[in-house]
């Protein structure tokens, strides 16, 4: 690890004023310290933001407000979250280990880097680590890589479970820019696809500081579920995950939300499938048709063709689990 200066920000304004390209924020540190140990991240200065940001979780005016440094555990066990937004709690508890969830912050979860093996192997080219050095995964070991939204420059997937649930529930991210302006980004636009800048994971303006994540009230609390498939039954990143939420009107689907992890460079919303499900019967054949619709245009890489049937199965299972609650 390279040596660095350690500073503390006492307010949001101070934090964004202190921030620059070579200075990084640190909250939980579960991802950043690991990357620093491997010399993948080499900040000159770390800015501890615990004093500047809040870890409170509030429910006001039908909106859930999660403070940027609320730990993953705190969000997952919050009474209001479990009662009104159970999908959030289920997704968080499907990820990491209790120790890491205790340490990791909510905003940090959004900003965590990919777990593509080449990103972590500093002896290989990786556009995410060194811009324009090339992608080793596109023709290499890509069994865990993307099946949608990728290009020749990057096939990495976003590793978060929490973010899949936030994407499904139309959350928003609030941040304060270097110019001290408060901005709000809809969750579907927060993370980006690789495009021509695969080294950037999201659309957060440079040096902005995330202050809170908000989730508007919804009517999915009775029928929502998170299905996660991985190499072992716990404490592993998703090969495929599906967050499903339904609002039912008797035997018909009034509204649906469907998002996936392990699919793309960002938490992947299945907008077309959601639209298809609206007004349909609650029946397994409908769910199977939905799963086929989701996978019809997907193009897997050399080693991750298995993800297509796995995704279909996960979508059907998730929708069925929504009903059998």
């Amino acid at each position: 690890m390279r040596p660095f200066n350690f500073e503390k920000a006492n307010s949001v304004a101070e934090a964004s004023a202190m921030k620059s390209v070579n200075k990084q924020f640190i909250a939980g540190g579960t991802n950043l310290v690991d990357l620093m140990k491997k010399n993948i991240a080499q900040p000159e200065t770390l800015i501890d933001v615990h004093l500047a940001l809040t870890n409170s979780i509030d429910y006001q005016n039908n909106v859930l407000i999660i403070g940027a440094v609320a730990s993953n555990t705190k969000v997952a066990v919050d009474k209001e979250v479990i009662e009104k937004f159970p999908l959030i709690s289920k997704a968080i508890l499907a990820g990491a280990s209790p120790q890491i969830r205790n340490m990791a912050s909510s905003a940090g979860n959004l900003l965590q880097r990919t777990r593509c093996p080449y990103f972590y192997d500093i002896t290989t080219p990786c556009n995410k680590r060194i811009p324009n050095s090339g992608c080793s995964a596109v023709d290499g070991n890509n069994r865990m890589s993307a099946i949608a939204g990728y290009n020749e420059q990057c096939v990495a997937v976003h590793p978060s479970d929490f973010c899949v649930a936030l994407a499904a529930l139309d959350a928003t991210v609030t941040a304060v820019t270097k110019e001290q302006k408060e901005i709000t980004i809809p969750f579907k636009d927060f993370h980006k696809l690789p495009e021509n800048t695969p080294w950037l994971d999201n659309n957060l303006p440079q040096d902005a500081v995330i202050t809170k994540i908000e989730i508007p009230n919804n009517s999915f609390s009775k029928h929502s579920t998170y299905v996660k498939l991985r190499d072992r039954s716990s404490y592993a990143f998703a090969l495929i995950s599906v967050a499903a939420a339904l609002d039912l009107n008797g035997k018909r689907i009034k509204e649906a939300r469907l998002a996936s992890g392990g699919v793309a460079h960002k938490p992947w919303r299945w907008f077309e499938v959601e639209k298809f499900l609206e007004g349909k019967r609650v029946a397994e054949d409908v769910f199977e048709e939905a799963a086929k619709l989701a996978t019809k245009d997907l193009k897997p890489l050399s080693e991750n063709g298995y993800k297509i049937p796995m995704l279909q199965g996960a979508i059907v299972t998730a929708l069925k689990n929504c009903i059998n609650q």
Binding site: F4, N5, G29, L46, S97, P98, Q99, M103, S234, Y235
Partner: protein, 197 residues
Amino acid sequence: MELKGQYSRRGFLKVSGLLAAFVTIPSSVKAFYQDVKQYFIPKKNVSRLTLSINKKSHTLYADTRTTLLDLFREQLNLTGSKKGCDHGQCGACTIHIDGERALSCLTLAAMAQGKEITTIEGLSNGSELHPMQKAFIECDGFQCGYCTPGQIMSAVACVNEGHTGSVDEIKEYMSGNLCRCGAYNGIVQSIQKVAAQ
């Protein structure tokens, strides 16, 4: 005069050239040496820290890069917390920070000031072992013992959190602690035993 020949133009240039080289070379060599040294052995950034560990306050000096785990093991002679992977994947370094389980290998010491830190050494009450330590001995909760301090710290938290409803629940909430000997059955039994007390 005999001396006249010694003050030749050539002689003057030779001597002054050598003198100039002696003056400049050492400084450039020194700068080069410093650059190389800085690259291979970067300058430390040491600061003063006050930490509360096992109910005792410690004031010490550490580089900003120091993790709690390295601080315990290298400065405080608290070698109970183990370094397995050093990347937050194995759980051998599990400790409690303000009563919650955390990984000491991913916690910068500078960020743990003002918090109550408990390591495996702080678990027993004098010579009286913690019930979880006793249970691990009675239930064969370990073989080689390397992951055991982390397992016990995690197990104590697992019981405190109330995640002991079923074997599956215990396994899920202990999934951050790996045991290569495969003593998992004994570990689960130890937790069930303490949870029932």
